[in-house]
Amino acid sequence: MKFLNFSIIILIIFAVNLSKADEITLQNKIYKNLRCLICQGQSVYDSDSEFAISLKLVVKNKINAGFNEDQIYEFLTEKYGEWILYEPQLNKNTYFLWFLPLLIFLFGGAIILKKFINIKK
């Protein structure tokens, strides 16, 4: 019986730790994708400026309030514009940006394929 109690406690601690760890991973992922607007070339994750400290707190509070990653990005884009995100979101302004690599890849593939066909001939 004692052993059962003990293992249940261990299990609970483990589970809590795991969920906490997930939360921290999510937090860090979001921090790293946010641009610190007053420090040039740094993410919020890297920065210790007043702005970054407050922003980290806001993100943490939002996660605790049940916001998911996209909702947090949406919230911050509304306040600061899309510039705050390092990874640009997919919309009509960024189609070109997102699909250009794919186009270049296809183009390159087509050239290679053509060479192969030529060699076979």
């Binding site: 509070n61 509304e78 600061y80 510039w83």
Partner: protein
């Protein structure tokens, strides 16, 4: 012939890259936000006197102009713009609300006692999260509000020209 085309394309490419980079040099490196935020955010904050917690709904609810000014006693430009705010506070068409940003209470109290109080209400933002609700990222920052909408946003300290602009708005 083929070599010439490659050479020509190469030159065009380098000129293109050079132009883009050269133009980039003249861009200001400081970020200016897209003022996409038009509606005032909803938040609750303690007042400076610490007797009550106010919801933003009940602060900006009258049919007049409001000026939200984010300030702190440790912020030097805030000291410079303070006399302008005091002058503006005498105008009864506008109500000035202060948001005290990450400040030490005693210092803030001294600041107000020494320089005067233009604010009808001062809200506290101890951890800077309320300023983020407003989309602010540095202080001082000032928002002109009418009918729950942000009409104008001033980043950095106000000067007499900007105050004139505000007065023009509220005429």
């Amino acid at each position: 012939m083929r070599n010439k085309i490659v050479y020509f394309l190469l030159v065009v490419f380098f000129v293109f890259v050079f132009t883009i980079l050269y133009k980039g040099l003249s861009n200001p490196s400081l970020y200016k936000p897209n003022a996409s935020l038009k509606k005032i955010p909803e938040f609750t904050a303690e007042t400076f006197t610490k007797q009550e917690t106010l919801n933003s709904k009940y602060i900006f609810n009258q049919n007049k102009f409001y000026l939200l000014n984010i300030w702190a006693s440790w912020c030097v430009p805030c000291r410079d713009e303070h006399p302008l705010l005091i002058n503006l506070g005498k105008n009864n068409k506008i109500e000035i609300i202060g948001l005290n940003y990450k400040d030490n209470f005693k210092n803030a109290e001294k600041f107000i006692n020494d320089l005067g109080n233009p604010y009808s209400t001062i809200l506290l933002d101890r951890d800077g999260t309320k300023a983020i609700e407003w989309g602010a990222f540095g202080i001082p920052e000032t928002f002109l509000i009418y009918k729950n909408k942000i009409i104008k946003r001033y980043i950095g300290p106000l000067n007499s020209e900007l105050v004139d602009e505000i007065i023009n708005y509220i005429k």
